[in-house]
């Protein structure tokens, strides 16, 4: 915030460059890989780094728009249900006779519409917070999926469809390629376009942004639509990996995605964060899970480790920022969020 801006305007120093969250994540990523290699001989090979990301990249599509959502200061917990609904609709439509390419398009459309509905609800009823809107739609979308498919599974897709989730172009899995393209797209959108700047402005101070001419409503709708679209991608790749779908797929995805985004340094208060952080976080968590899984760490221990990782990483950064403002003495004015305070201290 104010603190940070001043630092950047000062002469560029090595220290300020490397003391950023994203570099810390790089260090953690390296540490994770070192740990994994020590633990298991099966870890360090080309397969791991190229093929294995297939297992977690389907979730990663959601991290990209979720970064935008959280920069806005909102949250979206309905993404898992959107994935389920669009996957179910696609499967049912295909099995009812729709040609597969059209079913794929239908899946993306349904997902986008779900996102659009979220956006419309949030902009038409501003009194409602994003939490309650997406909570309601989370339940509704998955509920509709149950109504459509009941207790059945639906699948039996054509053979070429499994290429999406399992296939590779040369040595690189298709999923990695598509994800890389989307990541670059989102990165450009966020950091190099005026849309991105407006997004940050809205996240920092929505009222000021509005009065500066930023169309808040359209931004929220665009971001919601993008979230829906990416959920559609996730649905495509997840369904391809499983070969079938049920109404209960992708349960719990929303918390995993949010964890990856906040680990990536995007503040839920809004207005802060870069796309690089969540990207690194995706791979950190993915590789950590895989590496520890190779030595058959029990699931409960894995839970603890991931939880500790999240907290320790944040603590490291906060240790740096904590600096001078330490005492709890009530008579001293302290501020750890803003920079200089007008009026000085009161004792």
């Amino acid at each position: 915030m104010i603190d940070r801006t001043i630092r950047i305007n000062k002469s560029w120093s090595w220290r300020s460059f490397f003391f950023q969250w994203e570099w810390l994540l790089v260090l953690i990523f390296i540490a994770v890989n070192v740990v994994n290699t020590t633990l298991s001989p099966y870890y360090l090979n080309v397969d791991t780094f190229l093929q294995m990301p297939m297992t977690f990249l389907d979730k990663a599509f959601l991290v990209l728009p979720m970064t935008m959502v959280i920069i806005l200061g909102n949250i979206d917990i309905s993404v898992g249900s959107t994935v389920a609904l669009s996957a179910v609709v696609m499967a049912v439509a295909y099995n009812a006779g729709l040609p597969m390419p059209l079913a794929v398009v239908l899946c993306l459309c349904v997902a986008t519409v779900c996102g659009l509905i979220n956006g419309l609800l949030m902009t038409r009823f501003k009194e409602l917070s994003a939490v309650i809107v997406t909570l309601a739609t989370m339940i509704i979308y998955r509920g509709i999926a149950y109504v459509i498919l009941l207790d059945q599974a639906s699948g039996k897709f054509p053979n070429w469809y499994s290429f999406l989730g399992w296939g590779s172009v040369g040595p690189v899995p298709l999923v990695v390629i598509v994800f890389a393209v989307c990541a670059v797209g989102f990165g450009l959108l966020l950091h190099k376009t005026s849309f991105g700047r407006r997004l940050y402005a809205m996240g920092n101070n929505a009222t000021a942004a509005r009065y500066s001419g930023v169309k808040n409503d359209s931004i929220i709708i665009v971001v919601s639509v993008l979230t829906g679209l990416m959920a559609g991608f996730t649905a495509l790749f997840l369904t391809s990996r499983m070969g079938s779908t049920r109404p209960n797929v992708a349960q719990g995805y929303e918390l995993d995605v949010i964890a990856m985004v906040v680990l990536g340094g995007v503040s839920t208060a809004g207005g802060k964060g870069r796309i690089a952080g969540p990207l690194l976080a995706i791979f950190i968590i993915g590789f950590l899970n895989y590496g520890l899984g190779l030595v058959n760490v029990q699931a409960q221990v894995l839970l603890i480790i991931v939880g500790l990782l999240l907290i320790v990483s944040v603590l490291i950064l906060n240790v740096r920022f904590r600096g001078k403002h330490r005492s709890l003495a009530p008579t001293t004015v302290k501020s750890d969020t803003a920079g200089e305070r007008p009026g000085g201290t009161v004792s």
């Binding site: 810390l24 633990l39 499983m242 797929v249 058959n296 029990q298 480790i305 490291i316």
Partner: protein
Amino acid sequence: MRKVFIKVALIVAIMAVVLPVALFATGTSEKGGTAAGAKYAIVFKNTGNPYGDKQMGGFKAGIEEQGFQAILQAPAQPTAEAQIQIIESLISQKVASICIVGNDFDALQPVLLKAKQAGIKVFSLDSAVNPASRLTHVNQADSAKIGSTLVEAAYDMTGGAGDIAILSATSQASNQNLWIDYMKKDLADPKYKYLNLVKIAYGDDLRDKSVSEAEALLQSYPNLKCIIAPTTVGIAAAGKVLTDKGLVGKVFLTGLGLPSEMATYIENGVCPYMFLWNPIDVGYLGAFTATALVKGTITGAVGDKFHAGRLGEYTITKAADGGTEILLGPPFKFDKTNIADWKTVY
């Protein structure tokens, strides 16, 4: 400089925490590279499930009895996606065989086919996966027999006439749905024509939801005579509700339940008797199935025979879903006479 030092120190701290914990959790045997013997893996539905732990324990005992190494794995969430990740990891570890207790009938097919292509022998246990994904299936009891045994129990408890309801787990659970289908088929028989199935409720294997559904059944159907709950969480929840409402002797309960969970309700009479099988034996049988498949003694085809340690000889038979299966035996009945012995076992 101090801050750099703090950062480095904290990163070392992360590693210092992760390494020992991971080592502690797995034992140092994994560090040696290719282990002395082949590795046999079992993947259960979720962690923290004592039934699953007993099953995996039986599997481990069977594998180690034959001199090999067992890997026991279960995801934190009972989802297919989580099991896919575990199976991928097992493929990377080049295990000899994977015994899967499936969270989903179809969704594991692609990853299990990948395992097959890598030369790993894949078979399912307890909760089946589709025939294309597996070589064979170890079934604890004949599904049709489970259905008919439960219907017969309801008939017996209610005196032949009355409303009955089924309290199941999730609507997606394939083994539940299979048993329920067999129950419905049996109920069409003229012998049971005075037994009226009023509702199939889904408790999702969640304690609080199962309680709500059980309470709703009692509220909506005042003439309810018997609840059949073929799921361990559901039957225990229904037992609690019936006990709390003082309906002993008025509404009966039966189904499939853990002896430890149901001990109180069998002893107080709410549940005159119920059924299950010994999960330790199921796992043990799975262990011998795994080694038999790897050795080539059996291929998973109907008619193959193999020896399963202390359990004796087994023959592979045709399964209802189109694949093949190995049956452990008939379901085991728990009632007041034997519950005290079994409640501490599992």
